[in-house]
Amino acid sequence: MIKNEALIFEKSVPGRRTSLLPACDVPERDLGSMIPTEFLRAQPPELPEVSEVDAVRHFTALSKMNHGVDSGFYPLGSCTMKYNPKINEDVARYSGFSRIHPYQSEKTVQGALELLYQTDKMLAEITGMARVSLQPAAGAHGEMAGLMIIKAYHQHRGDTKRQKIVVPDSSHGTNPASAAVVGFDVIEVKSNEFGGVDIPSLKAVMSDEIAGLMLTNPSTLGLFEENIVEIAEIVHQAGGLLYYDGANMNAIMGKTRPGDMGFDVVHLNLHKTFSTPHGGGGPGSGPVGVTKELVPFLPGPVVERAVDKYVLDHNRPLSIGRVKSFYGNFGVVVKAFAYIRSLGAAGLREASETAVLNANYIRARLQDDYELPFGKTCMHEVVFSAQKQMKFGVSALDIAKRLIDFGYHPPTIYFPLIVKEALMIEPTETESKETLDEFIEAMLQIAREAETNPELLKSAPHDTIVKRLDEVKAVRKPVLRYAKEV
């Protein structure tokens, strides 16, 4: 088997190491005198034995096999891969933020508590909510906390029949998964011909067993739900609450607010809308915001402002409880705080306006060559279908892989599930017209290639360190860890 970069274990040489620690400055005792020998390990774990330069070269080599936002355009729909300002990385590393212990006394962490309190207030204003908890670690975690709040609210009113959550068929997979984690049954409603919630279907499922509706607006199709006011009325009249999946918040900052649309609970993804980097899959941060009526149910503790100081309020009898250790992914919150303070109200609105402009520009320029399932103005992302190209045997996957040859990260594909051969493109506001034009030219060329040379697409990508993978083999014969060859 040909290997690219060897595994770090394969570079290991017995006895090789880097000396990083001082000698022990207290009397050294025999391990067995401190810990009974039956608890002690006979051999240390087989971690790699390499020098520092070996390690640095190894991980540098690995990094070169990746594509990041700084490498080039990354129009991965639904993920909002906007540019991550460098200053945010610097400020999060200030020792006053990165080198503080969560159990230090409140008087020694007033700056951190102030930052959490101010972020709560700013996110509440942006979403039209009363308060926001910064404890959830990611979007799905925020969803889970938000759904727990909905359940706790109904239970507190003695309304124990509400055990079902409604989600549209276009929803993110995390929505039904989070509902299940919280012990709800999931009811799916279909989308109408315009990509919105089908109102008759929604009315048909509403009952006194429905705890709430989870909605992404703009939807995962990149379309604003025009009937949102009516939908909110339907859900509220039936006694349910409205949950806002904030994955697509980047389209509407300063233009409209979930609270004004009638939503009761909102989660945000700071790693999408608020520019914190995605880190190769995390860490994120998934704050959950609620209306005034639901504030008592927020996860605890909550930062409150006393006369002359900030305090952690642990005494919250109706709280759903804790969902994570300490106060959430604080370091991520610092970056989002820096972002909001950099942009201000006008800057955030302009970010959303430009994100929507950029997506519509791509829509307008590609709609003759790629099928547009919902032929209307989109918001911050546009969903095409590769159905036209399928006539030549070329799939959304092939188009995605061919884009890699042009130096782009592919769009999200095969999602939302209700669009066949979906290609979901989210350019974000941080891309220039020149970048968009180059991408569009590549997409147009690929559309031509699909007709004239489909094989070129089906064999793509061509210049990457590995080509298409045998994913079936990975599942059938799982190799999930290194094992020494004997």
Binding site: Y94, G281, P283, V323, S342
Partner: protein, 434 residues
């Protein structure tokens, strides 16, 4: 751009937002700051906090001030790592994928388990997810948790369990260890899992082997929550019979950062592979037969299985897991053992200094790793305040979580603490009572 699109204004693009819900004013936010102003403002805000660089920290209780080699921050700052997303396109994500594969391998080495996932949010949520796994695997609905498990982990578990309809019973302690008799009495064929932390919240090394024996008598699963650094010298939970191993990995190369972001980890046996939550990377080959790595076993996950998924987790703590991988690589086999041994020796040194002073008494007599509990005649908050005046961050007041341990003081000693720092702490703490 607008003219090429056939639009007159950007406002037209927002026409789908119904008039009544449009925001007709500016958001009420503080004025925008330039980069220069922002850096200065945040510097000042950060300086309102007392940070560990300016103090000697003896506070642990789940978040630890371990040494972080320079190579870690340097390498995770490479944009190819931190500005990428989940490696959905393996051809241009081999760096992240291989690093996760190496992370999984190292976690398996430490824990003595067959497989590990790509990370969880933190140790507490990893524990709660392990319980969900055990409930799903056994079809039973009750779990027993030692109350020597971190109080916040128990809180998080109770939150998750309440909404899933899982009953959680706490098992008390005896001499700082799980009360094995009480465990044996409580464990039954209704028990899905027993959860034990080792070293536990008091820093004490639990007898996982005995806990496993009791647990397995009732065909329940043992979930062990562990400190990964301790596993450089302690017998692995896999060897001792654990079925699922979780823990918090902040101590592996991640700044303490007011409690996050760090990472949780989870490892288990092959038998439980299909119940594992979260991302997993596997090895395969590409069309040319070259070795390659890819996200695998995805039919467990939310984006495929929706409400039937093993968990709702999507984003995890990938960059923190990368930091942990680099940390374990740079320190290596001998280095991690050295860290563990230094912690152990230093913690015992400080323990003995305090006890020999006559002003402090041990709370328990069981073996401990890098943390230990002592008690004194006075209030620990007052003691910590006095130490703060000398730039020492004292221990955790155990009374907050264990009302019966009045004046209990939990001190953590990492390899970073020097003998002069420990002597100073001991001297000041003893003087406080003179």
């Amino acid at each position: 751009m607008l003219s090429e699109m056939g639009n007159d204004s950007i406002q037209e693009l927002f026409a789908d937002i119904p008039e009544p819900v449009r925001l007709s004013r500016d958001l009420l936010l503080p004025p925008a700051l330039s980069e220069l102003e922002l850096a200065s403002y945040l510097r000042k805000l950060s300086q309102k906090n007392i940070n560990l660089d300016d103090t000697s920290c003896f506070l642990g209780a789940g978040a630890y001030d371990h040494f972080i080699p320079s190579a870690v921050a340097n390498l995770i700052s490479r944009q190819e790592f931190y500005t990428a997303y989940t490696p959905y396109q393996p051809e241009i994500s081999q760096g992240t994928l291989q690093a996760i594969f190496e992370f999984q391998s190292m976690i398996c080495e430490l824990t003595g388990m067959d497989i590990a996932n790509a990370s969880m949010y933190d140790g507490a949520t990893a524990l709660a997810e392990a319980v969900a796994m055990a409930v799903s695997q056994t079809g039973r609905n009750e779990v027993l948790i030692a109350n020597t498990v971190h109080p916040e982990s128990r809180e998080v578990l109770k939150t998750y369990a309440h909404y899933k309809g899982i009953a959680v019973k706490e098992i008390g302690y005896h001499n700082g260890c799980i009360d094995l008799d009480a465990l044996a009495a409580a464990c039954s064929d209704q028990t899905a899992a027993v959860i034990v932390q080792s070293p536990n919240f008091f820093g004490i090394i639990e007898d996982l082997g005995q806990a496993a024996e009791v647990t397995h008598q009732h065909k329940a699963l043992l979930i062990a929550s562990v400190d990964p650094i301790s596993l450089a010298i302690l017998k692995s939970p896999g060897e001792l019979g654990a079925d699922i191993v979780v823990g918090d990995g902040q101590c592996l190369g991640n700044p303490i950062s007011f409690g996050g972001p760090g990472l949780g980890f989870m490892a288990t046996s092959k038998a439980l592979m299909r119940k594992l939550p979260g991302r997993v990377v596997g090895q395969t080959t590409d069309v040319d037969g070259k070795r390659a790595f890819v996200l695998t076993l995805q039919t467990r996950e939310q984006h495929i299985r929706r409400d039937k998924a093993t968990s709702n987790i999507c984003s995890n703590q990938a960059l923190n897991a990368l930091a942990a991988t680099i940390y374990m690589t740079v320190l290596g086999k001998e280095g991690l053992k050295e860290v563990a041994t230094l912690c152990l020796n230093k913690a015992h040194y400080l323990h003995d200094q305090l006890i020999q002073s006559g002003k402090f008494a041990p709370v328990f007599s069981a073996p401990f790793f890098k943390e230990f509990a002592v008690t004194s005649a006075g209030d620990t908050e007052a003691l910590n305040d006095a130490l703060l005046a000398d730039q020492i961050i004292g221990g955790y007041a155990l009374e907050k979580s264990y009302p019966e341990l009045k004046n209990g003081w939990l001190l953590a000693v990492t390899e970073k603490r020097t003998r002069p720092e420990m002597d100073s702490l001991a001297e000041k703490a003893v003087n406080h009572y003179d």
